[in-house]
């Protein structure tokens, strides 16, 4: 399409508006919507540039889309751009979740609300079970990788070890494994 025509970099207000639109409609998996907004609708970047900057956001710790809002905003408009991206992404969802939280805090002793939230919580945990299974599925054919995952799981769930200590041991193990394979 018009990929070769350079578009002017978005303004701080446009960065805010773009990520606001992502925050307000993104349910359970904001990443595909973010890609559509940046690459297809507003054409701030082409697909390769987006994948490239996403790579950094997935490499570093933190929520991927949160990092992305900061990185994309910063690339175009420096610190104000990063702040606009983060504020745009977070302000509507935060307001909504705070309203939900106040409602829940107020009515949580009502039997009907209690039952609704019990069902909601069970369904929400089902979603994260599915997410975990999708991430773990490729390890079925990877004995050593599967073992690293299993030991990490056991350390957290059964031994109740702190995350920092677990990561300090398991991440180097996983990296050593990947390094041996790459040679």
């Amino acid at each position: 399409m018009a990929a070769s025509e350079p578009t002017p970099p978005p303004s701080v207000a446009a960065i805010f508006a773009g990520f606001f639109s992502v925050g307000i409609i993104g349910f359970g998996g904001v990443l595909p919507i973010t890609r559509r907004m940046i690459v297809e609708q507003r054409q701030w970047m082409n697909g390769k540039e987006f994948t490239d900057i996403l790579g950094l956001c997935q490499f570093l710790p933190g929520g991927n889309v949160i990092n992305l809002a900061a990185a994309v905003g910063h690339r175009f408009r420096g610190i104000p751009g990063a702040l606009a991206g983060l504020a745009g992404l977070m302000c509507a969802p935060m307001a909504i979740v705070i309203a939900l939280g106040l409602f829940y805090g107020h009515f949580q002793d009502e039997p009907l609300v209690r039952r609704a939230f019990a069902g909601l919580a069970a369904a929400a945990s089902g979603l994260i079970v599915a997410m975990a299974l999708k991430i773990a599925a490729p390890l079925r054919t990877d004995l050593l990788g599967g073992l690293v995952a299993l030991v990490t799981f056991a350390a957290i769930v059964w031994l109740r070890l702190p995350l920092l200590a677990t990561m300090a041991v398991m991440a180097p193990l996983g990296i050593a494994l990947a390094w041996r394979r790459a040679r």
Binding site: L60, I66, A122, A123, G126, L127, V129, A132, R181
Partner: protein
């Protein structure tokens, strides 16, 4: 005031430990919150569910924990704690990324962390499900939602609505 500082410390360090995405730190978040005496594991699971029912990034549970612990200032501090350190790190690394993006060590580190992330996701799933499923029907609902979500591309909001509806009519 002490609660606000504790919230900032908790979420500030979880932000930098969340390799592979936010959910990997859920078990540690739950552990520290329960140990702190802020709430029970079941209450945490309810807040997690509430956060899933809102749009936006999936780390909004931090907002709700902050709200429960210290009201509106708590909600803001916890959310800022969760997003600031990793965002600052991302912006700092942005200009260096072009140099190390294609470096062999970068690919090895990223591949090596995958099984650890998978283990942490599985741990998060089990701990959240354990806290949420206080009866056999609720556990069956979790299994059913997990199966449908794993096998189909159905929008998660439908599954959350179905769960809440089943709860309201007393089926679970």
């Amino acid at each position: 005031m002490n609660d606000l500082i504790d919230l900032a410390v908790l979420y500030g360090h979880l932000s930098l430990l969340a390799f592979g995405g936010g959910p990997t730190v859920l078990p540690e978040m739950q552990r520290q919150i329960v140990e702190h005496g802020w709430m029970t594991g079941a209450e945490f699971a309810a807040l997690f569910a509430l956060a899933q029912a809102a749009p936006g990034p999936n780390m909004l549970v931090s907002t709700l924990v902050g709200l429960r612990v210290a009201g509106l200032p708590g909600a803001i501090i916890a959310t800022l704690g969760m997003i600031t350190p990793s965002s600052v790190l991302t912006v700092i690394c942005l200009s260096a990324w072009d140099r190390f993006r294609d470096a062999p060590w970068r690919k090895i580190v990223q591949a090596g962390i995958v099984p650890v992330t998978a283990g942490l996701f599985l741990a998060a799933a089990l701990l959240i499900a354990q806290a949420a499923d206080r009866s056999i029907p609720l556990a069956l609902l979790t299994v059913a939602v997990a199966g449908v979500s794993f096998a189909t591309k159905i929008h998660p909001l439908w599954l959350l609505a179905a769960g809440a509806s089943l709860g309201v009519i007393g089926a679970v």
